[in-house]
Symmetry: C2
Subunit: 457 residues, 2 copies
């Protein structure tokens, strides 16, 4: 593949122009007024696949936004790589914080600024272009399938069912995903673990209406005071979650593996400075990276109740609400945890209030073993381009669909991410460095090459 | 005063029409668009006083809405009664819950329905009409002064200063106020105690921006979790407030007085049913009436932070807020408590967050001794009309200006209220029973008579 670098160099402008065309369609999946844009984006992807050399590409309906499926089967005896990506993006508000319009991509300081520049239009596009290179130059060593969905940012509500219905169609040896990040441009890394998630809304009802806090205060349970106590009791002073049975299925990570994970570069002072906190906090006995990588956590994502306007209104409110989430580690089952929490939280409510817990969302965790051939292939591919062996990292985040793939299709995923922390995904001024974009296009064909070699053995 | 009943009977319709005229002016003090209505209402009161027989009535400016002052001095050697009331009312939203327009008084089921029907237009108007009766029929045994303010519903920000500047003008032997309620139409009662108040807003800041709860959750303090713990720790399992020194100045009420207070009729089952709670809650060792009457309390009036919209957004928020208030009992100083809380709450914040406490509001408690001549006179007056000796009750509510009168003017107040729990003051469909309105007009002249007799001794 000695012509890889020059192919990229020669087609640089076109690779950008074609990406910009994809970005310019405002495919915000959570806003129904963009329904037509979702279809337009799917069509753009279909054309892209065919032009790059796919034998077949089609837009396949789901109950929500369609899935774009494409493939090039060169030899059934060769290994098959299934690319998963998403063509939908997050909303753009607050719009006034953007320095350039979110759907008019602009290059500044060597970065592409736009909604979707990284997540996931920029990262998914690298796969289209790497595929094009391999087809056009006769360097394709595997069969390739594409599965591009339009609902990742709203929790992939329909892709699991679609996979179950199209199990034969998407059959593959490995799923390749670029929707994560790496530590720094000079420290390549591969995400080997994702946390699972359970998310609830809780509603605490005290009196049947807002009461005068003077006339009733002290004599009637205040739902905000009660909710605060209930939330407080969910964790102890050491940051240990108190839901009975919560840690039951947590596989303790060996000291050996913890030592290895501890080798990933991490500067606590820089970390604290970046988010402007004097001290970090978390479960006793674990480092910050362990707390967010290999341990479960519990966060209140939102809370509200009573009077929240200006000034002093004296009220003993009728209701208080919170959105509570836990991040789970592999082997913890989100549905089991979801039920455990609901039962526990409702059971510890004092008689003076009514408590109702509604599960809102959930997903399993995921682990990619570092001795998997596909992981080894990815490792070698990064090393070829970045001249450094990538570090395996456990991410605290969740991509629930990845564990669904394992469950439904029985296929492992390798998360070859090229994003950076500074890319501001989901935020104003999302960006993607040109260097990462072109390095990604260069890295991917090596993955195919090494993966094909390893699978031959 | 054998003609009292017949005077009321003959003038019934006019008494209602004149009150309705007052009610029709939408004098909402918290909304600046009603500025002109405040002046109109003050003018209406001035005319009312003069027509009823005052020697003098004038509208006196303050930094906010004016005070209407009026007087009739019949003999400097006679005792002087100062009437305090307010001509402003609360806002009316939610408007769609009103069964008739709030500023178009309507009589249904023997009640006047309108904003201000009770609080305080209906109740204050009884004093104007009782005064008219005494003047017109030669039954006035005391000098009378009126001090009607227009900012009670926004915390009387200017009346303290106005009193200090007009100390000589408003000099009196007793302040008479009808701005409270009684237990039931057949159980007259007089409020002898009011709680004080301290109110703060607290702001807890964790990271400098909202973080991804997956990537950071478990490693960085979540301000909502921290705030919940801090609120939880403000009271112990027995409902005892944990702010150091908080109870220092609380005068314990003797068992004897508690026994007396316990004689006020109170049905716990009815109370729980009315607000639809299975159990009441509060400080251990005290009854519900004691918890709200003679003991301080702590309520979170509002809380907010993070994501409060629909569905599941995974965020580790930057900030969390709460509005926290305490009701204080007589002898607790609200300014001392305000400082104590601020120092304590900020000092117990963990290093992982920043906490800022802003005092928003405060007021002293008040006690009216039941051996005060004016109290005895009020007691006899109620007994005359209601054929029952009124019960002394300690209210959990606060009327901060009442303690200000004591501090600034050195004059005690007697709270002759005729409102009922069902009057829905501050709420949609505020109302005032016609029976209470006319009974009030009948009761007040007896107060003057008995008070004059007692002061002669």
């Amino acid at each position: 593949m000695e012509n890889l670098k020059s192919y990229i160099q020669e087609n640089k402008d076109r690779f950008l122009e074609e990406l910009f065309g994809l970005i310019r369609i405002p495919s915000i999946s959570s806003l129904s007024e963009h329904k037509a844009d979702m279809v337009k984006t799917a069509e753009y992807w279909k054309e892209l696949m065919l032009k790059a050399g796919a034998d077949r590409a089609e837009i396949m309906p789901t109950a929500g936004n369609p899935v774009v499926y494409g493939e090039k089967i060169i030899d059934k005896s060769l290994p098959t790589v299934l690319i998963y990506a998403h063509y939908d993006v997050m909303p753009v508000d607050p719009l006034d914080l953007w320095e350039s319009p979110p759907f008019e991509p602009e290059i500044r300081n060597g970065k592409i600024y736009a909604r979707g520049a990284d997540d996931d239009k920029g990262q998914s596009f690298m796969h289209a272009k790497a595929f094009e290179y391999m087809v056009k130059t006769g360097n394709l060593p595997c069969n390739v399938k594409f599965m591009i969905e339009g609902e990742e940012e709203v929790g992939s509500p329909n892709l699991g069912k679609w996979c179950a219905e199209n199990k034969e169609l998407v059959k593959a040896d490995i799923i390749l995903v670029s929707d994560t990040g790496m530590i720094a441009p000079d420290i390549p890394s591969i995400t080997t673990g994702l946390r699972g998630l359970s998310y609830w809304q809780v509603e605490v009802t005290g009196p049947n209406r807002d009461l005068h806090s003077g006339l009733f205060g002290g004599g009637v349970a205040n739902p905000i005071n009660v909710l605060s106590k209930m939330i407080a009791n969910l964790t102890d002073a050491n940051g240990v979650i108190q839901i009975p049975g919560f840690y039951q299925d947590v596989l303790d990570v060996s000291m050996e593996e913890r030592t290895l994970l501890g080798k990933a570069p991490f500067d606590l002072e820089e970390y604290k400075k970046a988010i402007d906190v004097k001290e970090v906090a978390g479960e006793k006995g674990y480092t910050t990276m362990e707390r967010t990588g290999i341990r479960p956590s519990l966060d209140v994502c939102g809370i509200w109740g009573g009077y929240t306007g200006e000034g002093a209104k004296t009220v003993l409110p009728s209701k208080a609400y919170a959105k509570i989430s836990t991040r789970l580690v592999p082997n913890q089952d989100n549905e089991k945890i979801s039920l455990q929490f609901k039962e526990y939280f409702e059971s510890v409510a004092p008689d003076s209030v009514k408590v109702e817990v509604t599960p809102l969302h959930g997903g399993q965790g995921y682990v990619c073993p570092i001795d998997l051939p596909a992981y080894k292939a990815a490792e070698k591919a990064y090393e070829k381009v970045y001249n450094k062996k990538p570090v395996p990292v456990r991410s605290g985040g969740s991509i629930p669909i990845i564990s669904t793939f394992e469950e439904v299709l029985g296929i492992k995923s390798v998360l070859m991410g090229f994003g950076l922390e500074s890319d501001a995904i989901h935020s104003p001024n999302e960006n993607f460095p040109l260097e990462q974009y072109f390095n990604g296009i260069e890295t991917i064909p090596y993955f195919y090459q090494y993966f094909a070699e390893m699978m031959k053995k």
